[in-house]
Amino acid sequence: MTRRFRNLFFLASAAGFAVFYLWGLHLLPGFGHYPGPYGDVLNALSVYERHATDVITAVNFDYRGFDTLGEEFILFTSVMGANLLLRKQKDDKEEDPPLDLARDRLAPPTSDAVRVAGLALLLPIVVFGIYTVTHGQLTPGGGFQGGVILASAPLIIYLCGDYENFKRITSHVVAEVAEAVGAGGYAVTGLISFIFGYKYLQNFIPLGQTGDVFSGGTIALISALTGLEVAAGIVLLMISFFRQTLVYRKPGEERGDHHA
């Protein structure tokens, strides 16, 4: 297809698609008129049945926890997949990354002020991440959000211009094991329910006092495992990309900053 023909062909089809889609959309109950009943039932049940005040977390890790298991494994599989696709190949040679990666980051070199500010941010980020993971059943947050926040801690170190330190605190092997433990732990938690004669992923831990950090039974456990998996998974993903960008070189290929 020539470009011109393709564009015309697409525009005609897209117009048809848009009209058709809008035809369906305009019959929805309308914005602001949620029809129920699923969400309303759970809004009413979750605090009593699961001692979880954040219904979204209760849905994510319990009522529809099986979806989240699949979702965690999507993340897990993709990280493995990206690892596979960005693996070191026979003709790749490793090169020590330069100390100043300014050009590679497409940004001006980091000043000491930025460095200090970044490192000062680090502790609050880690604390906030852990808080978010552990209080998922009570306030907005949970394993997924907290995990992503935790994963951003090493990124801050990198953004402060220090790939060496980034490498030091983010061991590939540790991240790999942590990710597998997080994802596998989720699946195993479900299997443990069988010991108690329950269904897969059924709660087997006392529910505790509503509003307590250790309330919510398995929700808290699964949330923590998810946090581990997500944090490790995103760090692994970043390591794969960093390595490909900063470390692996083909013969005859030099770093961009020599010629910029």
Binding site: D54, I56, T57, D104, R105, L106, T132, P140, G141, G142, F144, Q145, V148, I149, A151, S152, L155, I234, L237, M238, F241, F242, Q244, T245, K250, G252, E253, E254, R255, G256, H259, A260
Partner: protein
């Protein structure tokens, strides 16, 4: 409240269009990051704080960072090709 909702929706529509119609990937990734932030604000306004949380980190930080790293790698490749020529 309604005014805020309408405003943010219109902003999201415009920003989404801008991401698509920016042809230079480097500019586009800035747009994408901004778009991610707008979405997070939208989630807050529409009472979805949990989603907003994730969106801030994923949409405005993780994804743009991955795209940037990819662009850097592509640039290095491009330059080595020029050297060969």
């Amino acid at each position: 409240m309604v005014v805020m909702q309408v405003t943010i929706l219109i902003f999201v529509a415009i920003a989404g269009g801008a991401v698509v119609f920016t042809r230079n990937p480097l500019n586009q990734v800035m747009g994408l990051s901004f778009f991610g932030l707008l979405l997070a604000i939208m989630f807050f306004i529409f009472q979805a704080p949990d989603v907003a949380f994730s969106q801030i980190v994923v949409g405005a930080v993780v994804i743009p960072l991955m795209v940037l790293l990819t662009l850097i790698k592509l640039k290095t490749k491009e330059q080595s090709k020029k050297n060969d020529a």
